[in-house]
């Protein structure tokens, strides 16, 4: 069960022609796929397109009605390889994953796919995880388009434009026998907007129909001599066909070409940002009526040479707004202009930032500089952000002392079952000394931050074990600890990590964090999920898989909240004389998902009058001396500080917020780390049984009696 349910929203996918849909970008993409007659869909979740996979999952009944096959691919490589179905059959297929990490994983399949080419439309929907909010290395999908010759659509961040791009993407793919990538920028995926729907279309040819008559064509298989023919085809047939289609359909836009003898070329995805900059400078309005000519590249690869020449010729200077680096398009344009003897001065990353996200502020500054240089009269207004930082009217003038605004990196949620794993490891290290930790991708990577500060490198999804390979040989001495999530384990870690460690007789300790979901990407199910779902096969134990590839030493801890046991197991695994890789599977359910599961059950039980116990933790303010040792081995958002109510003490004390879910880490930590006696757990019993009521009365009576002497002693000293 995914973190966010789209069960209600997906009903909108049934809407028909002419209706206006107010939806999020990802839902619009799904609707566009159905309007395009897609035959099969796959993908691997990851921000910012996680929700696209969730929407597709929740839309399964609708997909089935239309005869569309959908699968949750094991990895991006799996998803990309799935597009092989469009090589011989006229099937439209779409896959989705995050970029550029997903493209890295998928690029073997994609290179093969684009070499042989496709018959049916093949669309790869990319969630470009670049800029603020991104969790990966900052690279561009553009490079993959260039290296494998796949077309790259970069539509304006507008829901209608994105829907159009999906539909034309399939057509472009079919017209040029080339896979097409659709780049959705991070903010576009979560864009809320509206578009006018069309009717859904059943695939023209279904998977079942295609398989009635299996086809093969050795000319489409990547093996010499066909592979050499493919390269020629790409250049001599597919490229010209694509350019023809793009021009005929007017996918790129030239706007107000005669307004001036200078112009701006932009990637489609940056069009809204650019128009805002022009508005701020008084060169355009909210409806795009610009006084500076624009050429909008809704297709950023291939670059349409004729259109570039037409736009630039007769202009003194042109600015290219191209986000990220290297400056592939700028290099491309320079080649085009020089080869064709066009004298127009081309500006780009000389005026705009060479690296980093093209925010509204960055683009406005660059455009202002360009216009000042070539068309100063165009600037009708100077927005405040252009002012000098020292100017008190600048939005960036110092209005808040830097030290009071502290970084707030993402961290483990309240009740996260991964927290006690790291608490336990920290405590184990007090006895074994520090170890090299090879981290992986997933929520567990947050352990690199305070308060745990565990983890030295992360090499990619499922590569935690492999990342420690060189440091885990038989002669390495101090044992390396590798982390991996259940998601990474099934994505590739089982082979690239565990199998590799077994084969190479590695001495590594591998910790597999098994929280029953792909938690970091939004709680999707996977092979080892506990849940039973009608459409997927689950409950395949990780330890069994590890043993299956030859691991001898493996333990599964089924309750990570037992910090003492986690610590002792770590010590055991770090000190055992046994040879070969040690695999610890640490199991406990992701708390976000657990709460979503448990809360309604509890509400129901309460309503039905069943006995329900509500647990939460607390800190005694008298007993807490405010040293915050408990926080330093936890970092739980619900465990925080508050002013010391004691008039004599000054330092803030620890306190537990109402958001506490009663996971028990506080208490377990207090025990395992021998902290302090301040923590308590309170259990409130709702709908008590007769026995409970009797117990409450007896205890109340006894406590009153037994405390009489103590209270009497205190009353002699305390003011009434």
């Amino acid at each position: 069960m995914a973190e966010r349910s789209f069960a209600v929203e997906v009903e909108q996918l049934r809407r028909g022609s002419g209706e206006t849909l107010h939806v999020e970008g990802i839902l619009a993409v799904t609707k566009a796929l159905l309007q395009s007659g897609v035959a099969y869909v796959g993908g691997y979740q990851g921000a910012p397109i996680s929700h696209l996979m969730d929407v597709l999952g929740d839309a399964q009944p609708i997909l089935e009605e239309l005869g569309v096959y959908f699968e949750n691919s094991a990895s991006e490589a799996t998803a990309a390889a799935m597009l092989a179905a469009s090589v011989h059959y006229p099937l439209r297929g779409a896959v989705t994953f995050k970029s550029t990490v997903g493209l890295n994983v998928a690029s073997d399949a994609l290179a093969n796919l684009s070499s042989g080419g496709v018959l049916g439309g093949a669309l790869i929907i990319l969630g470009e995880d670049y800029g603020e909010g991104s969790s990966i290395m900052q690279e561009r999908a553009h490079a993959f388009a260039m290296k494998s010759q796949m077309w790259l659509l970069d539509p304006r961040p507008n829901v209608s434009a994105i829907v159009d791009a999906v539909e034309t993407g399939f057509e472009l793919s079919e017209a040029s026998n080339t896979p097409v990538m659709l780049d959705l920028r991070l903010r576009s995926c979560h864009l809320h907007g509206s578009f006018v729907a069309k009717d859904n279309r059943r695939p023209a040819v279904s998977v079942a129909q295609a398989l009635e008559h299996p086809k093969r064509d050795v000319g489409r298989i990547v093996l010499p001599p066909a592979s050499f023919v493919h390269e020629q085809e790409k250049i001599n047939e597919r490229w010209p066909a694509a350019v023809r289609f793009i021009k005929e359909r007017g996918l790129n836009e030239t706007i107000n070409d005669d307004a001036a003898d200078v112009g701006i070329i932009t990637q489609g995805g940056l069009y809204n940002t650019l128009n805002r900059s022009l508005e701020l400078l008084g060169c355009s309005d909210a409806f795009g009526n610009t006084t500076v000519p624009l050429y909008v590249m809704n297709v950023t690869y291939p670059v349409v040479e004729d259109e570039i020449i037409d736009f630039c010729r007769g202009k003194r200077a042109v600015l290219l707004v191209e986000e990220g680096q290297p400056d592939y398009i700028e290099q491309n344009l320079n080649t085009i202009l020089r080869r064709n003897g066009v004298e127009t001065a081309l500006h780009g990353k000389d005026l705009l930032p060479v690296a980093g996200e093209y925010t509204s502020a960055a683009v406005t500054k660059g455009v202002a500089e360009f216009l000042r240089l070539v068309l100063p009269d165009a600037i009708q207004h100077e927005p405040a952000l252009l002012r000098d930082r020292e100017d008190p009217a600048s939005p960036f003038a110092t209005r808040v002392a830097a030290e009071v605004v502290q970084p707030r990196p993402p961290g483990l949620c309240t009740g996260c079952p991964e927290r006690p794993i790291f608490s336990g490891m920290k405590l184990a290290e007090r006895e074994t000394g520090e170890h090299h930790v090879s981290a992986d991708i997933g929520c567990h990577l947050f352990a690199i931050n305070a308060p745990f500060e565990l983890g030295a490198t992360t090499m990619g999804y499922g590569l935690g074990s492999a990342g420690g390979a060189a440091l885990s040989g038989p002669g390495a001495g101090r044992r390396t600890v590798a982390f991996m999530g259940d998601g990474g384990f099934w994505h590739n870690g089982l082979t690239s990590g565990v199998g590799n460690a077994v084969f190479n007789k590695s001495d590594q300790l591998l910790v597999v964090v098994d929280n029953a979901y792909a938690a970091a990407t939004g709680g999707q199910d996977l092979l080892s999920s506990k849940a039973e779902t009608p459409t997927r096969s689950t409950q395949h134990p990780i330890e069994k898989a590890a043993r299956g590839v030859g691991v001898e030493w493996s333990k599964t801890i089924d309750d990570t909240f037992d910090v003492g046991r986690v610590r002792d197991t770590f010590i055991d695994a770090l000190t055992t004389e046994d040879k070969g890789p040690k695999v610890l599977v640490m199991q406990s359910e992701c708390q976000l998902n657990r709460q979503r599961r448990v809360k309604p059950e509890m509400r129901q039980a309460l309503k039905e009058g069943k006995r329900v116990t509500r647990e939460r933790f607390g800190v005694d303010p008298e007993t807490c001396t405010g040293d915050h040792a408990c926080i330093r081995i936890s970092g739980c958002p619900s465990l925080t500080i508050t002013s010391n109510p004691d008039p004599m003490r000054t330092h803030p004390i620890a306190t537990v917020l109402d958001s506490c879910v009663g996971c028990g880490v506080c208490g377990a930590n207090a025990h395992a780390a021998v902290l302090c006696p301040s923590f308590y757990r309170s259990d409130v019993v709702h709908n008590p049984t007769a026995g409970d009521k009797v117990r409450a009365r007896v205890r109340g009576w006894w406590m009153k009696r037994a405390s009489a002497r103590l209270e009497g002693h205190a009353a002699r000293f305390e003011a009434a």
């Binding site: 921000a47 909010g133 991070l186 903010r187 979560h190 809320h192 907007g193 809204n272 940002t273 805002r276 701020l280 909210a286 409806f287 795009g288 509204s360 009708q380 207004h381 927005p383 405040a384 952000l385 960036f396 209005r399 808040v400 002392a401 009071v404 605004v405 502290q406 970084p407 707030r408 993402p410 947050f446 970091a520 607390g618 005694d620 008298e622 007993t623 970092g635 958002p637 925080t640 508050t642 000054t650 330092h651 506080c666 208490g667 207090a670 395992a672 302090c676 006696p677 308590y680 259990d683 409130v684 019993v685 008590p688 037994a706 002497r709 103590l710 002699r716 000293f717 305390e718 003011a719």
Partner: protein, 546 residues
């Protein structure tokens, strides 16, 4: 043409919240409300891992129906307004922040600016990990954050919207939406704002209650008269109650102390129990500003042990009062001596913890915190981990020393407490056990630890007094060094080490002109980390190592 500067532009709204706080829900509600009122709306956010409790920005653009369709009719490039997906620094009309440090971030990033922005912020604090991890008080200055909010807004609406939501048993997104409605920054009616909450379907009543609380707290006068928000009559600033703020709590504490001092000036005995009245009268001869603290100390030491122990406390404090350089002023030397002597004399041993756990007031407090009804069964479980040292330290000296050496006893304790002890205080057995332990008070003066602590206290007092005779400030600093002695087990042991280093340094600093200042810096260094690295490096660089 400058359409933007002339106001033909969308209303821009940024929401800064922590992942999981409901900033996305708030943005969705704003969009739905605005669409209901005929606006064109767009909403973006950066999702992904940033949403796991990290700082997150949601951005909304709303194009009002009044600002019309495209100027050139169908001749425009686009039929619908082009919305930006980024907030532009200096161009954000409304900023809503769910917490005070996130408000500071909105100011730092240039989203909130004094020429334009209606800034709606909750004044509650969600402390950052750095603030929480400090060994002492690592909290940043709330006042500076609030002052920054004022400096960076055209209009500021600040209130504890988290508390408002909580009192309605709802979430902050609802109270903040109410505040936005009440601010009048958007030309929508209250009903239009409430519509998406009603349509949301879940927890409608609590959400509407929180909405109403937020609406009222926004300081909105009755807006039915049609006054526009930016007209001259509207207050530029409304800061309402902020009980969540650490500074507010601290200042309430200071006010309480001032009041007690006023009482202590005329009737000190009224602030203590019957047995301490005579001792309380003795405070009349002591600096007025220190009396409340001394009376706190008397009660504390009396409850901790007995009357003679309280008297011993008073004698100790009196020695500082005699050398107080600022008798008629703040008397900081005496105040701090009264504070720290009491805290040290009431060190947290097993007997005292047992007493704290069994007090009636404590059980009542737990009940309130757990939101348990009077007649509801409540179980309270303690997480105890008595160490062998803690047990033998509590016993009479000879017995303690013998048991400490006994292998059999060590094994027994190890077996019982290795995994820690979870004790149900609310059970007859658990309560009896703790209450019995709490009544072992008479054993304490004969214990190993008692002797050790008293000797250390005496030594510290002598050193502080010696310093105070020549340098009052240094004397007070020596007294305040007691604050590094805190925690239990390893934390306490580490504190003791730091304390010893500070005392050595203090001796070396005596006579130096800036001795007090330097010792204060070293004390801060001792609380900077858990392994003492900062203190050691500062001691080395100041050549103050013993």
């Amino acid at each position: 043409m400058s359409s933007w500067a002339d106001g033909r532009r969308p209303v821009t709204l940024a929401i800064l919240a922590l992942g999981g706080e409901g900033g996305g829900v708030l943005a969705d509600w704003v969009v739905a409300a605005a669409e209901g009122a005929g606006y064109r709306a767009q909403n973006t956010s950066v999702a992904g891992v940033a949403q796991r409790t990290g700082a997150t920005v949601y951005y909304v653009e709303l194009f009002p129906p009044a600002r019309g369709a495209s100027p050139n009719g169908t001749g425009s490039v686009r039929d619908e307004p082009i919305m930006s997906i980024f907030p532009t620094p200096g161009e954000v009309d409304i900023v809503i922040t769910s917490e005070l440090m996130e408000c500071g971030r909105a100011v730092q990033r240039g989203f909130a600016t004094p020429d334009r922005t209606t800034l709606i912020t909750s004044t509650n604090r969600v402390y950052s990990i750095d603030e929480k991890m400090a060994l002492g008080d690592g909290r940043v200055d709330d006042d500076e954050l609030l002052a920054a909010a004022q400096r960076a807004s055209k209009r500021l609406i600040a209130a504890d919207f988290a508390a408002i939501a909580e009192s309605a048993d709802s979430v902050i997104s609802a109270s903040l939406l109410g505040a936005l409605a009440g601010s009048g920054a958007l030309e929508l009616t209250r009903e239009q704002f409430e519509a998406p909450i009603r349509a949301f379907g879940r927890s409608v009543e609590p959400s509407l209650a929180a909405f109403a609380g937020g609406f009222d707290a926004s300081g909105a006068p009755e807006r039915n008269g049609g006054a526009t928000p930016d007209s001259a009559g509207t207050p530029a600033l409304s800061v309402t109650h902020q009980p969540g703020s650490g500074r507010t709590q601290e200042s309430a504490k200071a006010t309480g102390e001032r009041r007690r001092n006023e009482v202590a000036a005329t009737d000190p005995a009224s602030l203590v129990g019957p047995e301490l009245r005579e001792l309380a009268e003795r405070t009349r001869g002591m600096p007025a500003a220190a009396r409340s603290m001394i009376l706190h100390g008397l009660v504390r030491t009396g409850v901790y042990q007995d009357l003679p122990y309280a008297e011993r406390y008073l004698d100790r404090v009196a020695r500082f009062a005699e050398v107080e350089p600022d008798r008629d002023g703040a008397a900081r030397l005496t105040v701090e001596a009264a504070r720290h002597i009491a805290l040290w004399m009431c060190y947290q041993d097993t007997i005292h913890v047992a007493l704290q756990k069994t007090r009636r007031a404590r059980m009542e407090r737990v009940r309130t915190e757990a939101k348990a009804q009077r007649n509801q069964l409540l179980e309270v479980r303690e997480f105890l981990h008595p160490q062998i040292d803690e047990i033998t330290d509590t016993l009479p000296t000879a017995l303690g020393a013998t048991l400490r050496r006994s292998k059999a006893f060590q094994r027994l304790v190890e077996r019982v407490t290795h995994k820690g002890l979870i004790l149900n205080t609310t059970s007859v057995f658990g309560y009896t056990l703790l209450a019995t332990m709490a009544r072992c008070r008479p054993l304490r003066p004969r214990s190993l630890r008692f002797g050790r602590e008293q000797a250390a206290i005496e030594q510290w007092i002598e050193q502080a007094l010696a310093a105070a005779t020549s340098d009052g400030e240094l004397g007070r600093e020596v007294v305040q060094c007691q604050e590094v002695l805190k925690g239990y087990g390893a934390t306490w042991a580490h504190g003791s080490e730091s304390f010893a280093k500070l005392m050595t340094a203090a001796r070396k600093l005596e006579g130096a002109p800036d001795a007090a200042e330097r010792l204060a810096a070293l004390r801060a260094a001792a609380l900077a980390d858990e392994d003492g690295a900062k203190l050691d490096s500062e001691l080395r660089s100041a050549a103050l190592v013993s």
